[in-house]
Amino acid sequence: MKFFFRRKQTARLKAVIIGAGEVGVQVADHLASEDKDVVLIDTNAAALREAAESMDIKTVHGQGDSPVTLKESGVERADLVLAVTDSDATNIIACLFANKLWPEAVTLARIRNEDYTRGQEDLINGVLGINTLVNPEREVVKVIERMLSLPGILEYNEFADGLVKMVSLQVDCGPMVDLQLFDFSKVVPEDIIVAAIERGDKLIVPSGQDRILAGDIVHFMTLPGNMRVLRRASHYYDQEPARSVFIVGGGNTGFLLARYLEDLGYSVKLAEVDEERSLFLAEKLHDTLVLRGDGTDRFFLKEENIGEMDAIVALTGYDEENVLIGLLAKSMGVGHAIVRVNKREYHPLVETIGLRFYVNPRTAAVNSIMRFIRRGQVMASVTLGDDEGHVIEIIAQSGSRLVDTPLFELGLPKGSLVLAIVRNGKAIIPTGQDVILAGDRVIMLANHRVMAKVETFFTPLHTDLSDGE
């Protein structure tokens, strides 16, 4: 019987994605690999062909904001409409038409312009009725701030309103190297566990036999208050949080970052080449020192005393330039270099040349979109590694297979792991004997290949009957 219900549940959620840019393709890839019906719309035929070759999706060539194209894509039976082109206006209009054509569909628009974000209420409620907006730049800004305030930490995420934290560190030396995970609790307190290990481009969901090797990126799950212990164990303790930050590139992200940081009391310098843009920035930013200059200019960096600054953040539109700025600033003695790299192909290279910290706005956008798609049951979703794994936070529902059974008897698929259970405002790092109760918040890790299978565990069985085809 259970087998039968599971089949029903995974059947055919239909998503229309407008925009075959990096975000669109990424989201399409995710959904397709989870056995969803995906239609991708774009004006760029080449991009569509490329996407269709690598994924099992349908593509439609045309303007995403045109009702004709939308009809052609079959929006009238879609569950989800995701408008993620680079143009805010196109996204908004596409959502409006989708709403008109098929009011049942849940619509999402990717919005970059701050002004629209301010008018969020109007866009979401009222006549416009777009269901949600994602602003990837905002996510990026928060991620960068965490990197600055917690040096040595590659990624940082909070779950269950901050009761559980996930911290990713590169382990090079210290007591954790070559440690078998059985013995892990001899080195650190018991409320820290290893959620996943990233080695090269492989993501390992560990068991007790696995070891941490030097150079691994380790994702730890921890209760609050263990940050110092972790950083000491990984020998990052000597690095102080950054207070002075030099941002290169006053685009949307650079501007938002400067504003976010100056509000938090950082000392911020922001370099922008374009004269008009720099005037705009000087007007909108209050405590940031706006400079007109080229971040790749050695003398400019020297003039602004880059060697004395704690961190440089390179956010120009060109990956290559960002990497060069990072290297140049490093050679001049800056504390950290955080560079934006959009092209996936560059990621391993960036790591090799010693720029450890890179931010990928695409990942942030995909994270927030996936989080939205899983809404209802899933409170938060974070991707790990190169989208190899997801950490999701769900509320265990009564009637689902997850509850009332000890973890070791659940039979969760290999490649998935229950990381933490939050009950009545208290978080526990579970062992095999622990039992999940209905209403608990559960934080789980799942390899993307088993994601669809894992989803069946937290879906209540009886709703399947009523929703069944």
Partner: protein
């Protein structure tokens, strides 16, 4: 130039002032000062007659079409006419016999300066004392309404900064906006008047003194009913009440208006207010440090109150009220120099205070700071800001022009005084004090702001100085604007 409209408005002003003479008239009748009562009756007849015939010209349409430039010119002329007419009761009643004396007292009253030429104030009839205080109070309303409802639209002297403060009063034409904003701004003014009266009355002042001193403080004027200004009120309660209210009158009334609507955040965000508060605080502490060692004689003959005395003097001079509780000319030189600086700075724009105004000083200081930043960071891109809003270069330019005119005005005034053989300290400090509408000065007038011994011509020069300072040279500047004549 719509002459009829201008005359009509001046006529209305005269009618209002004429009506106001009923108050001192009533006081005079109550006190059985028959000659004073008759003089007010005569003044009222002149004002009402003149005002009535002028407002005969009043033409609704023409007033509606009045532009801001014409509006300011009207205010300039109006102020002049009211000041001239205000001298009548002094002359009619025989309280003052010379014309320059009467003019000086009237100008000093309506411009809320508070300098006097009466050597024995306590001997004056009560009706006249009431008239002096009332002229402050009327002048106070005039300046708030003028500064906040008309000047922001002219863009002279950087007043356009305040355009941001008053989004709801936006408009090109004067009248409907003026009456609306006047109503709103006067709410705070009336409220202060009522609250302050009760506090002074409860603090032990007799009703008559409480009314007069309320008028004088709310308008940041400076006329007191006693020869030694406020020195006879030694009660700490009364002094603190006066300090607080003098401080309040030095604040922008647009801010008061927002405060009354419960918008406390706007106060903390207002950079001009923060600057004003900081200066008051720092200067008070420095002055306290300097006078504390010789507390007894310097701080009004009592010990233990040097902080209060310093605060009173600093707030009084900075808000350009000009009341005193101690003779600051006996203080060490540094506190005196600081008070002289405060005479120049003055209170915030949109208040009843005079002076160069905190906003302008702050903006110029910011310009200097930006220049220094540019030296350190040659490629920095700076935008001048006030309370987080961008300020254009035009504003800075007009403030610089205003600075030149202000200093030039004070300089010419001082040189004219020196030409009448007054000593340098007297000449310069009196000129600054009058143009900033403070009242007391250094040298001959001293801390009581008594200009009785000045030659008659000097009194006329200072009267004009007060008027020009009060209307911020605008009427003159407007006349200098080429566009004014072109249209």
């Amino acid at each position: 130039m719509r002459v009829k409209g201008v005359f009509g408005i001046i006529g209305m002003l005269l009618l209002v002032v004429g009506g106001a003479t009923l108050i001192p008239f009533g006081v005079a009748v109550y006190e059985h000062e028959s000659r004073v009562a008759w003089s007010f009756l005569a003044t009222m007849m002149v004002l009402v007659g003149g005002g009535g015939s002028l407002s005969f010209f009043l033409n609704r349409k023409q007033i509606d079409e009045l532009t801001h430039r014409e509006g300011v010119l009207t205010m300039g002329f109006g102020w002049l006419v009211v000041c001239l007419c205000g001298a009548l009761p002094y002359l009619f009643s025989g309280a003052l016999t010379s014309v320059p004396d009467a003019l000086f007292e009237s100008f000093s009253g309506f411009t809320t300066t508070g300098a006097t030429i009466i050597s024995d104030i306590e001997a004056m009839p009560r009706g006249i004392l009431m008239w002096r205080a009332l002229s402050h109070w009327l002048g106070g309303i005039g300046i708030i309404v003028m500064f906040l409802s008309m000047l922001p639209f002219l863009g002279i002297g950087g007043a356009q900064v305040y355009r941001l403060e008053l989004p709801e009063f936006f408009g090109e034409r004067v009248t409907p906006r003026v009456s609306e904003s006047a109503r709103v701004l006067c709410t705070a003014y009336f409220l202060f008047t009522i609250v302050l009266f009760w506090l002074l009355f409860l603090g032990g002042m007799n009703a008559f003194d409480a009314v007069c001193h309320t008028f004088t403080i709310v308008a940041s004027g400076g006329f007191a009913n006693y020869n030694d200004s406020m020195a006879s009120y030694t009660s700490p309660f009364l002094q603190w009440v006066m300090i607080i209210f003098m401080f309040l009158t030095g604040m922008n009334y647009a801010v008061h208006y927002k405060l009354l609507h419960g918008n406390l955040k706007s106060l903390l965000r207002d950079e001009e207010f923060r600057f004003y508060f900081l200066i008051v605080l720092v200067f008070t502490l420095i002055v306290t440090m300097f006078i504390a060692p010789q507390e007894g004689p310097l701080a009004g003959g009592e010990t233990g109150n040097s902080f209060r005395t310093s605060a009173f003097q600093v707030v009084s001079i900075m808000s350009t009220t000009g009341l005193t509780t101690a003779d600051y000319t006996l203080w060490p030189m540094l506190p005196q120099a600081l008070l002289l600086v405060l005479m120049f700075i003055g209170g915030c724009g949109g208040s009843t205070s005079g002076g160069f105004k905190c906003m302008r000083v702050l903006l110029l200081l910011k310009c200097v700071y930006d220049e220094l930043v540019m030296l350190l960071h040659p490629r920095a891109v700076r935008r001048l800001k006030m309370s987080r809003a961008s300020i254009s270069n035009d504003v800075v330019n007009s403030i610089l022009h205003y600075l030149v005119i202000y200093l030039l005005g004070a300089l010419i005034c001082a040189i004219l005084l020196a030409a009448m053989n007054l000593d340098l300290l007297t000449a310069f400090s009196s000129a600054l004090s009058c143009i900033s509408c403070v009242g007391p000065a250094f040298g001959l007038p001293g801390a009581d702001g008594n200009f009785a011994e000045f030659p008659g011509l000097a009194k006329i020069v200072l009267s004009l100085g007060m008027l020009l300072g009060r209307i911020e040279f605008y009427a003159v500047l407007v006349l200098c604007m080429p566009t004014f004549w072109r249209e």
